[in-house]
Subunit: 140 residues, 6 copies
């Protein structure tokens, strides 16, 4: 945990120089965090109207999560990466599929699993050289 924490801090430091390589997993993660928060709030409230709004906000945010992950998978990663990281396709499938599970559930643990999958992908992302140049922002 602790060592992991500092590794992240290091990497965060790096992204002040090189943000192109860092930000795309952030887009998916922000949306997934929003899903989790919405689920928590859903359970904290007994107001019918508020809970309905939680369901629809969650639906939208989970869809955005899927979209950002698809862009990362299809546009950022290359066949060379899939050779180097043989589980990467399955990692993306699990994450994108899990975003669908988040739509179907109100259990924050389902969103936690999504967040864990996104973090795993982010690790791979940051482990690539390409994750640190600007390629990810070119027209796609």
């Amino acid at each position: 945990m602790l060592s992991k924490f500092f590794v992240n801090a290091e990497r965060a430091h790096a992204h002040c120089d090189l943000y192109c390589g860092v930000y795309d997993p952030a887009q998916a993660k922000i949306e997934a965090l929003s899903c989790k928060k919405t689920m928590v709030k859903y359970h904290e409230s007994s107001d019918e109207h508020f809970r309905q709004r939680c369901v629809l906000v969650k639906e939208e945010r989970a869809e955005e999560t899927k979209h950002h992950l698809m862009v990362l998978w299809a546009d950022f990663f290359t066949p060379a990466h899939f050779e180097e990281f043989p589980d990467l396709h399955a990692q993306f499938w699990r994450a994108i599929h899990q975003a669908g599970e988040v739509k179907k559930s109100t259990d924050p643990a389902v969103a936690d699993q999504l967040l864990a999958y996104i973090d795993e992908i982010a690790e791979v992302f940051w482990a690539t050289e390409k994750g640190q140049d600007m390629g990810v922002y070119s027209p796609h």
Copy 2:
């Protein structure tokens, strides 16, 4: 004309039995065909305004293709399918990535490759039992 009409009626009838297994790859394919057609028309015209419209229609249609393929991959197929068809993840990556190539290119051969990838996925789709029930239309 008349014979054509009945042939179509037959096909429509078949849809009524089997539509779940048939229609989802169709959604991606229609959009990909639209990309191809747009590329052909782009080259047939020398009108600046028309060609610009081709570029933006192609961009949108290719994005729709990606979206429909992602839905199919993440929502329809299950881990059991990926075991049965070990290349399936890569097939989807190639198809979705190729839709990105279609955005980048005006060469109809690039769209033909996309269509071929979609047809390969459609074959797998139809080869599954699940491709024939209604599961694909449930809320996702």
Copy 3:
């Protein structure tokens, strides 16, 4: 399985000849089928969260149905068609309006009526010569 596979291959083959004339009504029909399925599932479930998701998925799918029908009506059919098929405007109005009724209802019979209206339009579509060339995929 095997025989099924070849049946599907036949159908796929047919698509390759005829897709321009076939696919556009299919886009509306897929979305309308999705509405119907969602209504059925709505009634099969007593889970509040699931039912709310059904309502919002149905809302979106019905909107897509309307959009695909409008494209077909405004971009594919010409004044000559409206002379040849004098009820065609009203057929489209009924179908698009019925997609609105599908939004308002949870009764699968309302979606069945929508599907019937789309099938009637599809018959007209396939009865036209234009339904068989590629015109429908040009930039619109």
Copy 4:
């Protein structure tokens, strides 16, 4: 300016009485006016980048025009209206189709024709009793 201010205040006041009957055709008209303005500016400029932006703004605005007209046609008007105004279906088809022509053209006269079609529809809209109650704003 001051007199202008009060004239506008009057109009604003009138809106408070009558908005249901007034505003929906306005939505389509605003978008169509935007198309026309964009076409004029396209011809006034020789800057490649500006002209490309005109094409894409026009494409979007024309699509919005089509959408607003479809909503009006399918959700506001009823079979009784179509009996009372037998050309109304065709009026809508012409207007929505014309918005497609606006996409295809850079000639402001094409947008003028669209505006004229929308004005004709607006006349019918205002001539109905229903055009003056709030029905148009209910969930659709």
Copy 5:
């Protein structure tokens, strides 16, 4: 009826002179009126499905209100206007924020407040010279 018709015709005529200055606040106001109507209907009904649809229609319409207000604020008004109307930034913040409150509430009074804020902005809009030329429709 007849007199009403001519009153409307007059107003339509006025639009033809002045639409650039009139229509943009109208876009936000139509959406806000739709929110209000939806809230009223929400309380008039005890049907679960209808009420859920009200919530999602309101969510969408409120989002559209925010968007139209943002366009007006960022694209129409200039630093010179903000000097002339020192409260104008805050007026826009209140209106856009209030559209968020409309999402959160089912109380029509919350929408009335939004409408009042939009009317205040419209007054400022019409008080500007620029509110009367076509600038608002240029590509933005």
Copy 6:
């Protein structure tokens, strides 16, 4: 500059604990960076098709930038913040307006200005207590 750099590194470190307070400005910044990158690539290329795609990607990304900034302004910040930071309304106006300038221009310096405005807003965001709790992800 150097001290500024380390300040940013510190803050980045903080966001590993508390990402809810950090990520929203990131969403706008990622899109703005994408605009800048697209402008640079536009000038590096002489390919007509590629340059047209740059224009449309830039248009979309700038629109996303505007949207993310509006959400931050209207939903995150409160009247108390606007009292504490009296220039904050104007800061948001400049940033959102500048995203419109990015649409109009191909000069990367215009995007640099947008990035600078976003960074200023991010400083304010991080300076608030609320910027560090989860409030920003609640349904809005």
